[in-house]
Subunit: 431 residues, 2 copies
């Protein structure tokens, strides 16, 4: 049996998982590939920290050139994350003749065109199963097994941190800040959880899925995005009373006016599979025109689940399947016409609105009037005072019937400028 | 763009779906393959029946030789089903140089070795995504994306007919016969539903998954199998009261003593994803040592969902990915050592037992005594008389703690021979 050499750049949590599998399961991987797969180099700027993985001497280096100059390495894994230096590293790996496996959703969502064009120009492949949904084989499913379908809809929970926080809030009745602190204590959330809770991570993954499944090339910054940082305990309670759970959803839907895209906390019917995905689990619901509903569920993050996807891609790359898929799909290719993206203002849907208002006569009439003038009709209302004092503001929750996004945002703008309204209106979508 | 020719053998429900996609979505398929994919021949013994698909002249034939002798056809789809003539057809397709795509679980489970060896000897490939779970890409996931994992466990609902019947019984409170009739009326069950309800279909799919995921080569006839034809309304009601739903599960589990395999109606905790799969949907829960839990859910049958998997395999075959996977996995290869299968008598688990007994003093003591002598301890008991008359038999339900399968079966045998016991004991597993 001959041997193929693999290198790893970026020795953080996922990198440690990859090293554990490649070094610890050599026999199994050789069985799956038909060749010995040898991890020969790991590059990281920190060569000192003890990561709890026993490495052969000289495997760990802080000099990328050691990998670039080894012409026997055909497969390299980029796990640095973020834009730079990850972008430059991938470009130099490709230039030096390596096929690349990456988990870098920020880079793909931002510079997919550049790095995929580079891979094409060097006749190499890029694989990225781990960029979306961790260990869940969703990229593979859309890229291969579901290719007979035109996708109609995609609905996904792809941020485990947010789902953990929302689950804590619902099941333990804690407020947002307490749930975030618990997520940090358990290692589900970083010290600065902004990229997770403000929806950035989710929208970058949606941009990748929207390209892969619908041929759209969204600029992720332009996709409407609301995070979970505005969700409060009362939202969870009220949603539950109406038969819903709140989930941070990434949605893509094919419509005659283009692909609808958005990320928003969303009230999802409690008896659906998506509503029942708990803790840090992820789910991707795909609706294809032939296959109907397909749901893929699993751990969207973590050392070994994500490493499972990375090593799967390494195997695919060595076997040559990854190159076939890469050459066939023409992802992020300049010449490939992009599917139109629907004007976000034209997206229609039901909404959940929470206002903090002065508790005096006429306030509800004023707000309802503004909604009416924007052609938004009301499905249900709940008004509740925060405490007994007469001057304290009241919480007003309105569920709307289907309305145009443009009208909804204009109405919220007008309402937020009213004297009787305190703070900013919280808006979530309703499935 | 050049053209590749494809042929179809067997023009029933799934064949019609395949023809609809290949003939109706030519542009999309060409986009996914980079070549025009042309369905040139369909072979079926019935060339007269109107199937509602408009076919070009001369496409439909009852002569397989037309396909065998066309040396420009490299990919053929077998949808005849069953053992013969499907087996002979696949062997002659391979011999004449065609790669084969099939949905035939009965054939794979029974003659996998023969047809895979034939494909290897002719240097061709066989793909079979549609054989398990219809449109759900489970074969693909295990064969490619999850290859970094050793599978620990697999738990599956892979028969939509049974799941529909059980859902009807639970949600409408109907008895078994009424639910079967409803499934037949809606086209979910055939006129003779025996292969579905007695678990044969499920156990054949389990045999395929057990080989694919665990390297076992079970003879499907030897795998312990109980169907749903013994489930009665009272079982559903009592299970629900204890927090369970009854699902027909296929289970494979890696243990130090070999792979545990069985098919049985099983009491599954009501708050798990598997318990919440309704109607004709299927689910496959895979537990890998790296990825943890992965759940794949979707339509396990039906014209277009199954055709989605078939056409996905056709695309994989034309692109050459199928051949790489086929050559790498060495499925059903004689020389490949099979993983040991655990002696069914040694499988341990909790059980749900329902007895029909004479309603007289001492009966419970007698049955409990037999269970005790077989080292089976009792977790809970329910005794209920069918009607008010003193002489009518009573239903006795016992939930056991964990016991050895061999002991359980021996105890049931002894109990069934008691004078005070009417009919055969109904046994289900408890998750």
């Amino acid at each position: 049996m001959d041997t193929v050499k693999v290198a790893l750049v970026g020795f953080g949590t996922i990198g440690i998982g990859v090293a554990k599998i490649l070094l610890g399961q050599q026999e199994r991987i050789a069985g799956a590939v038909g060749r010995n797969v040898k991890l020969v180099r790991i590059c990281d700027k920190d060569t000192q920290r003890d990561r709890g993985v026993k490495l052969p001497a000289e495997m760990l280096t802080d000099d990328l050139n050691v990998i670039l100059n080894d012409s026997e390495i055909f497969t390299a894994i980029e796990l640095v994350g973020g834009i730079e230096p990850a972008r430059s590293i991938i470009l130099s790996l490709l230039k030096s003749g390596k096929n690349v496996v990456t988990a870098n959703k920020a880079l793909l969502a931002t510079h997919g065109g550049e790095i995929f064009d580079a891979a094409r120009s060097y006749n190499r492949s890029i694989s990225f199963e781990a960029a979306v949904g961790g260990g869940i084989p969703v990229v593979n499913a859309i890229s291969t097994a579901l290719q007979a379908n035109a996708l109609c809809q995609l609905q996904a929970i792809v941020n485990g941190t947010c789902n953990f926080i929302l689950t804590q809030m619902e099941e333990r009745g804690t407020d947002y800040a307490t749930a975030v602190a618990e997520a940090q204590r358990l290692g589900y959330a970083e010290a600065n959880p902004a990229m997770d809770v403000n929806g950035t991570d989710t929208v970058q993954k949606l941009a990748i899925l929207a390209h892969l499944g619908f041929g759209a090339k969204p600029n992720w910054q332009d996709v409407p995005r609301t995070g979970i940082d505005t969700v409060e305990a009362i939202d969870i309670v009220y949603a539950k009373r109406l038969g819903y759970r709140i989930k941070l959803l990434a949605v893509a839907e094919a419509t005659p006016d283009g692909v609808e895209l958005y990320v928003s906390p969303t009230l999802v019917r409690i008896d659906t599979p998506v509503a029942n995905v708990r803790d840090s689990f992820n789910i991707i619901r795909i609706v294809g025109d032939a296959v109907g509903d397909v749901l893929l569920q699993g751990r969207g993050a973590g050392e070994l689940p994500t490493a499972s996807a990375i090593v799967g891609d390494v195997i695919d790359t060595i076997l040559g399947r990854a190159k076939i898929t890469f050459d066939t799909l023409n992802l992020w290719k300049k010449e490939r016409p992009a599917t139109k993206i629907k004007n976000p203002a034209e997206i229609c849907g039901k909404n959940y609105l929470r206002f903090l208002v002065e508790d005096r006569p006429g306030v509800l009439a004023e707000i309802a009037g503004i909604l009416g003038r924007h052609k938004i009709s009301i499905a249900s209302v709940l008004q509740q005072q925060d405490n007994e004092s007469n001057n304290s503001p009241a919480v007003l929750i309105i569920m709307t019937h289907v309305s145009r996004e443009g009208d909804t945002l204009a109405a919220i703008d007008t309402i937020d400028s009213l004297v009787c309204v305190r703070g900013k209106t919280v808006r979530m979508r309703v499935e």
